[in-house]
Amino acid sequence: MKSLLGYLTAAIVLSAVAFLLGDYQTDIYRKLLLWITLALSYNFLFGIAGQVAFSHFTFYGIGAYAVVILVTQLHLPLLLAVPITVLICVIAALVVAIPATRLEGFYLALATLAFAQLFIVLLNEGGNLTGGTGGLANYQLPPILGMQLKGPAYTVVIVLLMLASLAAVWRLDRSYFGRACRAARDNPEAAAAMGVNVRSTRILAYTVTSALAGVAGMVYAFVDNTVSPVIFGLENSFLLLFMIIIGGSGQHAGAILGAVLLYVMPFLLSPLIGHHHALVFGLFMVLAVMFQPAGLIGLWRNWRRGSEATGTRPANAPGEGRA
């Protein structure tokens, strides 16, 4: 469904928006794009590969802290720091993936939760390296090739990041790898009988999605020009999970919808309930799990199927199973 033309159009439109926004709106827009990026990769890990992990924001943090430390403390030029950070993210993801994917279901959730908390503890106690509980601040994106990427130009970088993540998870999903991930989740015994190496599929899924989160973190580091432990804690991990469930787990459109909705809602709700939007999210989460586990996308599809039945809409073509 998504062609090169589609991506190009999206890139142009989304980037154009960047040039039209004021400072405050730009900040919101950038963060929204980052949340969408994270939701897309997390949706692949949780919704498609079926791994219940709370480590996504940890890798986001690893990417962010790594690039900042490389640039501000080791004084590496950006052209070097970026690939090294990506490498760090991939290696970190792999190192965690190998033991973690031996666990399933709830045990994986707990282990990644503990890992996430451990990361925060290490950040807090990291002294001068990590800036402790206050984190690192007052740094800037160094110039690349003599140019300073600021303002709308940097927003375009984030747009490209988001679209690249979308392309990555979309293509992986629609390939033999995506099917292997689903098969390994649905029925590991049958998957193995068909030749799927369940273990390495799990490792690969975890590594790729966590590395994507890390790369997003690297980009995030220069959005607020500050990184601190609290950003990468469990609160945001829960929020990410809520986004996926409420939007529609396993569907890319669901991830985007969930991210947009839950990110934008606090702004709309704040006149009513101040900072306590988490209460609403928690409630929606419970309601979604109980009454509409397929999320908002599920609601939309039921509506579509309903109109198919009454003849107002054509049925899906074979193979066009998912949005």
């Binding site: 033999y176 068909m194 030749g195 396993g250 193979g319």
Partner: protein
């Protein structure tokens, strides 16, 4: 007479103190339908699982196409051309029928993952080809009209057909059927038998374990009978049915009545 495709030499398996299978010699030729029968506890399932790769043998060897299958992980068997169905259907519930079948092709994929990420025309063509091949296979087993259906809406018999299509997708040299007739109606059994014959006609070796005598005797070209983990008879269905030890093993209850 060409060499057999699958050969079991002195195959054995113990579970603690229990010798489930002992000293089993068996072979299947390409394009042949071999039936394996025996009373409950005879070791059919254990043998089946060893050939399919889900349990390792305790003794003996499995030779497939001139290569020894030793110390292989379960998922490696499909790559060597051994695919199987499950007695209790195990579909992938979150995927469409077409996608289920495409999982069967996992070992036949020839392009690396980076090409998937890059979206190269080669990988896209291969994907489209895979989808159309899956549709062909669904047609072959008779599920052609149901490709857009949800897996959960399939009847038991249809689920069985999906199992077969999925296993065929792996381009097997040997296909293993685990009690394929179990739970099927008479007409479904007929269709199943027809499908199995057509599979064998393509040169694929077929091994099936089955309790339904009527079904198996009509279909298999050769039959091996197990009892207490050992082979007690082998031959054509007619020969085996006359064999005194076989009759004894079943205590004279060889049911050749038509499937109810």
């Amino acid at each position: 007479m060409s060499a057999p495709l699958l050969e079991l030499r002195g195959l054995g398996r113990r579970f603690g103190g229990l010798q489930a299978v002992a000293d089993l010699d068996l072979h299947v030729n390409a394009g042949e339908i071999l039936g394996v029968i025996g009373p409950n506890g005879a070791g059919k399932s254990t043998t089946f699982n060893m050939i399919a790769g889900s349990i390792p043998p305790s003794a003996g060897e499995i030779w497939m196409d001139g290569q020894r299958m030793a110390q292989l992980a379960p998922h490696a068997f499909a790559a060597r051309g051994i695919l199987r169905t499950f007695q209790h259907n195990k579909p992938f519930e979150s995927m469409t029928l077409c996608e289920n079948v495409m999982v069967g092709m996992h070992t036949r994929v020839r392009y690396p993952l980076w090409q998937v990420l890059a979206g190269t025309p080669g990988s896209r063509r291969a994907e489209a080809l895979a989808a159309s091949k899956a549709m062909e296979l669904l047609d072959f087993v008779g599920l052609g009209e149901w490709t857009a259906a949800d897996v959960s809406t399939l009847s038991f018999g249809q689920g069985r057909l999906l199992e077969i299509a999925r296993a065929l997708a792996g381009e097997p040299r040997l296909i293993l059927f685990d009690e394929p007739a179990a739970g099927l109606t008479a007409s479904e059994c007929e269709r199943l038998a027809e499908i199995i014959r057509r599979i064998a006609a393509r040169g694929i070796a077929v091994l099936l374990i089955e309790h339904d005598m009527h079904f198996l005797m009509a279909l298999a070209e050769r039959v091996a009978v197990l009892n207490f983990g050992r082979k007690i008879a082998e031959g054509t269905p007619a020969q085996v049915q006359q064999h005194p030890e076989v009759i004894q093993a079943y205590l004279g209850n060889v049911r050749s009545q038509p499937h109810a």
